[in-house]
Symmetry: D2
């Protein structure tokens, strides 16, 4: 695979449109959906840096979530346009830290914030170094 | 692995308790959850026959769903005890056909019925024969 | 709400990009994800007809899946661009029938086909007529 | 509804058997499944205290997740028996704090730990007091 020399873009936003299946009987998006959105945010933050996560996997580089924190402030509703901002907050040889902000497009209100820490593992699940191009000198 | 000589038990029922996450904002279990329950039913029907699906996979035998049919008659509700009856309806060297009946325990009403057809594939995803012990002479 | 006089557009395609969470340990998209994609297809087919499903719900018109059929032909893979074509195949006062075709964009191969039948219910879950603008004279 | 005078039991364990659909193509349970398990743990911790969450909802008492923290230590695998221990760590008039420990039954290894903070809201989504029987004097 052909990876970039470094990750030039540190922040990226994607559109989210909550699906019917994402809601629960309280009439709001179930809280377990947010980690899935965060994962989408990470994937697209990599992609704007010219890295497809599947190419990392093909190269034997897997990332596993080691830590997840979410603060839910307001409910997200079905079919209500949201924007998810994903940032690299800290990347080292041993882990990738991301932060997230979920914003309701209609009024700019922050619905949720979160952070994740990813560890890098080989295809056998053994801890390994984050590829050099992913972290600053 | 040590598989039985044949599948002696043709029908098996399991208890299902719909979870909060399974519901949607219409206040009922989302229809995409039923295929997951059917899969649980198949797994447990195999297990009462002394076959763990993971042991089949370890032996290079994978089953993929080739066809799915569901008739939804009444809504399933959160935390309302259900019983899922799973049957082998036809098993040949090339496929496994199952049928399902989802029953509300409180009054015996049938909430849904379904069928699936599974094909057998190798670990490389190539079609292969169903293991001999799984189908009658 | 302000609904159109009739549904002018009978077929619509959307892009699908399978997410990591949609895959299972066999390395393919789990079969229970397809009904969720079909629902997305229906939602967007309504939207190009200037109908938001949430506006129908706000007007007391709910659609529930009464029947689902899926034929899975080839596996769908993580992050591999797909196109889902959704059609109205038959709409009457009592039900809406849709058909679906899931196509792999890279080579045009049909991965799956399906149909659903929806019934129309009131906010109390009672069967009611499909709104007049949704079916032909 | 008939609720108990107080919550006598502060800790409860349930069995978890990861389903096929819970896995992803890395061959492990997807990290977004753990919050769902935590919710199951809370539900059953309430139930051993003679409180069904659906009865709380029927009485106009809803709990929403305000904060979620998970530390993932080891991967959970398909069909491998787990035990989830759920505790009330702190309950006040304004919130319920739970902690969780997910244990692999075969060897007692802790796979994950977590905490949640729940806020109490009315059926209109307004913040309200936690019912008196749920928190100590």
């Amino acid at each position: 695979m052909d990876f970039p020399e470094h990750l030039a873009i540190q922040s990226h936003s994607i559109d989210i449109l909550p699906r019917y299946v994402d809601t629960d009987q309280a009439g709001v998006v179930h809280h377990s959906v947010y980690p899935v959105w965060f994962e989408l945010g990470r994937t697209e933050l990599l992609r704007v840096n010219h890295v497809a996560y599947k190419d990392l996997e093909a190269a034997g580089v897997f990332f596993v979530v080691a830590q997840l924190n979410v603060r839910y402030r307001r409910a997200a509703l079905y079919d209500e346009k949201l924007e998810l901002e994903t940032n690299f907050s800290r990347v080292t040889a041993s882990r990738i830290e991301n932060s997230y902000k979920l914003i309701r497009c209609s009024d700019g209100v922050v619905l949720a914030e979160g952070t994740t820490i990813l560890a890098c593992v080989s295809d056998e699940g053994k801890v390994r170094r984050v590829p050099k191009f992913m972290y600053p000198e």
